[in-house]
């Protein structure tokens, strides 16, 4: 027991809420389940704030660097004297930060859902699943053991599956939930094998020991982990495999295909899971193992970097063509996570060279606010017009002033316009990229221009453009439980950028003072503003310009609209290859060859017995003939042949 023991309550309260609502919610607690879930989340959030405060301002800093504090640790499964799966709570700058992000956004979503999900038949189940997700996500960010993180990794996966498929009578939702689970499972296979590799060499599953042993390996260990397998060192293999797991959860190319479909889930769920928390788990994982990446396997970090920047650009291009507002947001999430990934990729480790790491975490932090705000705002819009399609919207600003205002703030933030939160974090990322890799920098800069364009295309299409089709505003903007989270998140979006992030979260744990360079910011802001201007020209009023441009782009536009046919490639692979070329032959082989052989054995036995059963027919005459002929045969044998 120590002064951080209470942190155990942070994940355990949502767990308790899940068990209570899961077991008894439907029958006995249906009407209060929302309040129950929200209440436990509120306590959990307060405890998180206390823990983070205590960590950052009282105990965390020792000798000028933030330390890793093991608050709690229990052995869960002892494989051998050295190797064990422990369940523990590890507090360090990133887990303390994630604690705040997860509990805050989750609380906002809990509150929002009080209004949004009201009257839903499976209201209690919904809150049970939300609690399960929050529990798993908190377990994930607090993990002190690499296997523990894998366990919670799978649990967030399944809560995501359950929530995407919440409306289980819609075939599209069922298909989307299945797709999300299977694609991320495929990625998790990489993660699992990565864990096996890393733990085999280091003989531990404990994060601190693992990182310590791999980032400053003994000469003996160096020899083993740099031994090459197919031209790549064992450690690089392990880390890349772990990263594949992260890329799956974080929807990086080419494992991103599940994210847009995941929008079939209730919108508050998209805000929580598929925007602010679960999808950044991959970034968190790389950040957690960052010392190993940077100090021992820079090649693996390059993979992270290129995957990140490519995903950012690809998603931004696709986002420009989508018409379902949630899908636009999904692609923008993917794009922003790409930023976080390549920011890690361009980072160094010590002091200010680790600015990329700091920027990545900063962006994760600010993104959580404005992206969940965007989703919740989109939810309010969908609530009003009962459609996800842009063509059914337009001119909504008069009907929903609060949603309009907060949505605008979030759009400005994601476009990197000062003084909103996204500006500061994106600035930090671009700066880090500029210092380390100008190719990445330019790609990122172009992407940020595209980002501003598609976000304002979205904004104008919803709130301006044509006149509203809504005549009687029968249920208005939604309940206050829906508006308050919007306002709180908007305040977060306004203020989060002013946090001196480098004083809290840095790659090596030693705070530094980052200098803000106004001159550098001019170009990115110009890119952002021009994106907004183009969107304004094309979409602020209903006109033909956008149609003409997309028409003139022809094939390129169409390819982007069809998401570059990546889904079709997967479909081909699974349907044609996995099912038809592996599954069907396997099933056929089993029925006809393996089992056929067994049946053949049975038939042969039967045939032989049919042949020889006459020998024991029970007919005395028959026996007399066999007897007589045998005697004759023996007589001939003895007299004429053997003689």
């Amino acid at each position: 027991m120590n002064e951080y023991s209470y942190t155990a309550l942070i994940p355990l309260l949502p767990l308790a809420s899940f068990l209570l609502l899961g077991l008894f919610g439907r029958k006995y607690l249906s009407s209060v389940s929302g309040w129950l879930g929200t209440g436990s989340m509120l306590v959990s959030s307060i405890l998180s704030l206390i823990a983070a405060w205590q960590y950052f301002f009282t105990d965390g800093m020792v000798n000028g660097a933030y330390q890793k504090i093991i608050a709690i640790q229990y052995t869960w499964l002892q494989f051998s004297p050295n190797v064990s799966i422990d369940m523990g709570i590890l507090l360090d700058p990133i887990s303390a930060m994630m604690l705040m992000v997860v509990t805050f956004v989750s609380l906002m979503v809990h509150v929002y859902s009080l209004g949004y999900m009201k009257g839903e038949e499976r209201y209690a189940t919904y809150y049970a699943f939300l609690s399960l997700f929050t529990f798993s996500m908190l377990g994930l960010v607090l993990s002190s053991n690499i296997f523990q993180i894998y366990i919670f990794w799978e649990l967030v996966g399944v809560s995501s599956y359950l929530l995407i498929g919440f409306y289980f009578d819609r075939p599209a939702a069922v298909a989307a939930s299945k797709k999300a689970f299977i694609v991320t499972r495929f990625a998790d296979l990489g993660f699992l094998i990565g864990i096996l590799i890393l733990s085999f060499y280091t003989e531990t599953l404990d994060f601190n020991l693992l990182i310590e042993r791999l980032s400053t390996p003994t000469p003996q260990l160096t020899g083993i982990i740099t031994a090459s397998f197919m031209g790549i060192s064992a450690l690089t293999w392990g880390l890349v495999l772990v990263f594949i797991g992260g890329a799956g959860k974080s929807a990086m190319f080419p494992l991103h295909i599940w994210l847009p479909d995941a929008m079939e889930g209730p919108t508050p769920v998209s805000a929580l899971i598929h925007a602010a928390t679960m999808v950044v788990a991959g970034v968190f994982l790389v950040a957690r193992l960052f010392p190993v990446f940077i100090l021992s396997a820079p090649a693996a970090l390059e993979v992270v970097m290129y995957t990140g920047v490519f995903s950012a650009l690809l998603a931004a291009i696709i986002a420009c063509t989508q018409t379902d507002i949630k899908r636009v947001l999904a692609y923008s999430t993917m794009s922003q996570i790409g930023y976080m990934m390549f920011a890690l990729g361009v980072s160094g480790y010590y002091a200010e060279s680790g600015a990329g790491y700091m920027a990545s975490m900063f962006h994760l932090f600010t993104h959580a606010f404005y992206k969940s705000l965007l989703f919740l705002g989109a939810g309010a819009v969908i609530h009003l017009v009962h459609s996800n399609e842009m063509k059914d919207m337009g001119g909504l600003r008069k009907f929903m002033p609060i949603t309009h205002l907060t949505f605008l703030i979030a759009c400005l933030a994601i476009s990197g316009i000062p003084p909103f939160a996204g500006f500061f974090s994106k600035e930090a990322i671009l700066h880090a990229a500029h210092v380390n890799n100008s190719f990445i920098y330019w790609l990122a800069l172009i992407t940020s221009g595209i980002t501003a364009f598609y976000m304002f295309r979205l904004y104008f299409s919803i709130f301006w453009n044509k006149a509203s089709k809504i005549h009687d505003n029968h249920h208005g903007e939604g309940t206050w439980s829906m508006k308050i989270p919007l306002l709180l998140l908007a305040i977060g979006t306004l203020l989060a950028g002013f946090i001196p992030f480098s004083s809290f979260v840095t790659a090596d744990g030693i705070p530094y003072h980052s200098v803000f360079n106004i001159g550098f910011s001019v170009l990115p802001v110009l890119f952002g503003l021009s994106g907004i201007t183009i969107a304004w020209l094309l979409y602020q009023k209903q006109n033909e310009r956008a149609e003409k441009i997309s028409g003139s782009l022809g094939g390129l536009y169409h390819a982007a609209y069809r998401k570059f046919y990546i889904d079709e490639v997967y479909l081909f692979f699974t349907k044609k290859i996995v099912f038809n070329l592996i599954g069907k032959p396997a099933a056929w082989f089993d029925r006809n060859i393996v089992d056929g052989f067994m049946n053949l054995l049975a038939v042969i036995t039967q045939e032989i017995s049919a042949l020889i059963k006459e020998l024991q027919s029970g007919k005395v005459q028959g026996y007399a003939i066999y007897f007589f002929s045998a005697i004759c045969a023996l007589t001939i044998l003895f007299i004429y042949i053997l003689n």
Partner: protein, 500 residues
Amino acid sequence: MNLIVLLLIPLITSLGILLSRGIIQIRVISLLGAMLQLAAGLFLLAMYWSERSSGNNAQMLFESSYAWFAPLNINFHIGVDGISIAMILLTAFVVLSGILVSWKEETMSKEFFFLLIFLSLGAYGFFISLDLFTMFFFLEVAVIPKFLLIGIWGSGKKEYSAMKLALMLMGGSALVLVGLLGLYFNTNTGNGSHTFDLLQIAAMNIPIEAQRIFFPFAFIGFGVFTALFPFHTWVPDGHSSAPTAASMFLAGISMKLGGYGCLRMATYLMPQAAQEYAWIIVLLATIAIIYGAFATMMQTDLKYINAYSSVSHCGFVLLGIGMLTETAITGAVMQMVSHGLMTALFFAAIGMIYSRTHTRMVAQLGGIMKVMPFISTVFVIAGLCSLGLPGFSGFVAEMTVFMGAWQNAETFYRIATILACASIVVTAVYILRAVGQAVMGPITDSHFSNLADAAWNEKLAASLLIIGIVAIGVAPFWLFDLIAPVTETIMLQMGNAIVK
């Protein structure tokens, strides 16, 4: 604790069933008997812990021995260690829930419940035997009731399936018999006589030539029971034709007799051969895992899906045994327990669905979550356990196997491990397909909308199994600690074999 109690309870219960009149009496006696079994199992576990914590380090506890046929040195020698206790507990759980699920069985109910209980007698006898001959005897006791259960109460092409199952399992038994006789005649207790005693044989040095010949007999023989590729084809037909409780017993208990036998008789008693043949075991197990998973993907009948997935999951048992590292073997035993509980739950859920909708075809089902939330939730839980979700037993067992298997650093074994790991993706595919089509989606058949959800007995049965699954999934250490000391002795035997 005298282990004979474990045999007396089912024996008396089955006699009681024979003497009872009316369905109520039969039900009550069976239920009481099954509850007593579980109580005895839990009591045994408690006794085992108290013995161990008081410093009793004997390899087997609660041993007793009775001469059965002295001239051939056949003794009724019984005793338990951690693995046996895990198996006994598994049996008790599955029996009780099986009895509960079959509560409404009304055709020839006396015979039905008698056979179920009698089958458990065979299983307990098998798990406590320390004498190869009595072990074999109880193995046979456990086979015959299955033939009748499927042949009489089954569905579909039940005669074919019953015959196929009985013949293949009998074939397996015949191989086991050759194996154990081979062992017997290669033992020497000093005065030229032979022994069937497990512990005595373990202390001896069976000549390597004999091991080479008889290991395959014993291993393949038991392997047939645990769906060793390519001797697994009785599994799909047997399961799909069997009545619900029989499927549960078959997958939950009978298939475990095989894994237990492979480990106890083949690997433990013939360690050198086990090392020499390890690659073949691993090869066959890997094929079973991957190929079983892909074959499952194409199935359209829920029972076939679960049967084929059992082939795949039992592959993990054999893989763990073949990898010959302490953790892997421990994982194999955990997988036996986990798979037993999980498939029993799966079959129970399928039975509940079938008894209401009268179809097991995935394509004909759909949307039953709406009308039968409890049953559907049970089905989903069984599915999630099967695809290895943390919190349920399947995850812990599989991960232990993987962790152990990875310790075997030769390239061949590494590739096998990676392939086995890859099966978790395929498993997710077929489980989620089944769940998505059968349970979720819109209601496909209007008749479904007025079907009733689970009755009390079904709820109880499912809850019991889920408790078992979660108890392992959330707190695996107790099961692990039960098994690990035993695998340690097995590994010690391996180590000694290398020295010899």
